[in-house]
């Protein structure tokens, strides 16, 4: 009985660790995508479309309308606006994301991650 119990507990723990690892991978990828592409590729790629992430600072660098990266630090009326202005101001794009492990024997463990792009 004891041996069976130990086997079950340890195997369950291993499964739980794998789900934590998977949650970490998901959260890191989500934060990275949030800071680079907002929701575009997250939604494109399946059931995790309603991803749990927050863009903390900065504007998305990816345009959902144009389906490409925006003009860098360029303020104008539209993309390619000749009359716009360019800036070399410092920039920061931050995003956080989270995911949780499976809620089984050991409960759901949250994994919180962040990603940032910045420059002076």
């Amino acid at each position: 009985m004891l041996l069976t119990f130990m086997v079950i507990v340890i195997l369950s723990a291993m499964v739980h660790l794998f789900t934590v690892t998977w949650a970490s991978v998901q959260a890191h990828a989500r934060a990275r995508e949030a800071v680079l592409h907002e929701t575009y590729y997250l939604e494109m790629n399946g059931r995790r479309g309603e991803a749990d992430f927050t863009q903390v600072a900065g504007n998305p660098v990816f345009s959902r309308d144009e389906l490409t990266y925006k003009v860098a630090a360029f303020q104008g009326d539209d993309f390619g606006d000749i009359a716009g202005t360019a800036s070399d101001e410092p920039f920061t794009f931050d995003a956080t994301a989270s995911d949780t492990s499976r809620d089984d024997v050991f409960g759901a463990n949250p994994v919180n991650t962040s990603a940032t792009i910045q420059g002076d």
Binding site: L2, L3, M6, V7, I10, L11, A13, M14, L17, F18, V20, T21, S24, V25, H28, A29, A31, R32, V35, L36, V61, T68, Y69, K70, V71, A72, A73, F74, F79, G80, I82, G84, T85, A86, S87, D88, F91, A115, T116, I117, Q118, G119, D120
Partner: protein, 373 residues
Amino acid sequence: MIARSRALVQRARHGQAAVLIALVTFSLVIFLALATNMGILVNDRIRMQNAADLGAYAAAYKEAQLLNVMVKKNEEILRRSEECRRLLTEVVPVWTGEVCLCEPINYEAEQLIDECEIWIDDAASDFLDAASYGATVQPAIEAGLKTMEANITGLRDHADTKFFDGASSASQNGIYQTQQVGPVSSRTVNSIANYQQVSDTFLNYRVLVMCPYGPAGSCIPWGIQPALVREVPSWFYKDDREADIWVMSQAAGTMASQYLDIAYSASGSDGGYFGGSSTGESDLMYAIGVAKPYGGSVGPTEEAASPTQMNGNAVPDQGVYLTAGFEYPKLAMIERYRARLAGTGEWGSSGTTPLGALQADGKWATYVSKFKH
């Protein structure tokens, strides 16, 4: 006697169970530890790759940002050139020669052109300042390193975390020369790319020639003629017409923990798992970013009708008087830059360079000549 024997057998069986339990427990704990270790490895690997990716993108973004600043400064040169042309063609459509020399010259107009030349050259100096190595490459690399550090603390202090600067070396500076002709040619600017200044932008005007052909040698109008052509250095274009500025990051580090790292080397910084070796080298992850024109991959120099017309004149060697009402062809570096993440992955050892990485990966090989740093 029999009862005693049974007791001995049962005691022996109890011992067997204990040994079995110990072995099974040990094995399960080992598996548990390996599962934990794998979690650490996977987590570290994705964090390092994220750091390399975001660092490369940040550097490319900064590069694109600074290229956009250069574009605006280049446009300022164009704007000043156009303003000078406007003054010579619209404000005073036909300059009257005040000297009775039968020569197509007006000193007031010539003085205006002299002033324009200085005015345009000031803007060209601003462009060159913005295009210098220190104003472009260094801020981009700093942005990349800062981003990598923000995503994984400690990477920046690692000797192998870097951006490749030059196609063949990680520390080769100054291989990019700004080519110039005209009045700013005395300066040497190490830049992210080769820029050439247009020198044959022509300013001209129409002049009412006055000749002493009148009665008693009096000075009378003798027809409208074009003045002598004045060449004025103006804006810049990229001679090679290779627009893309590539950056390559390398994130180097170790596992967050050496827990169960069977290849850990105390004498080195070895993680031993993802891309590193067990000889004390770092674990390395690479990423490539690119700053490129928004509208495509060809630029920043937009093709004029022909190379001989890069000066914006409709007809080479002709002056501004022919350009009234003429819309300039698209000129040098009128473009908007963006950054994008171009590729990620592992490319072998710490000796990898952007050139080697691109050559190793066949799909990038054709872009090697465009690699800037």
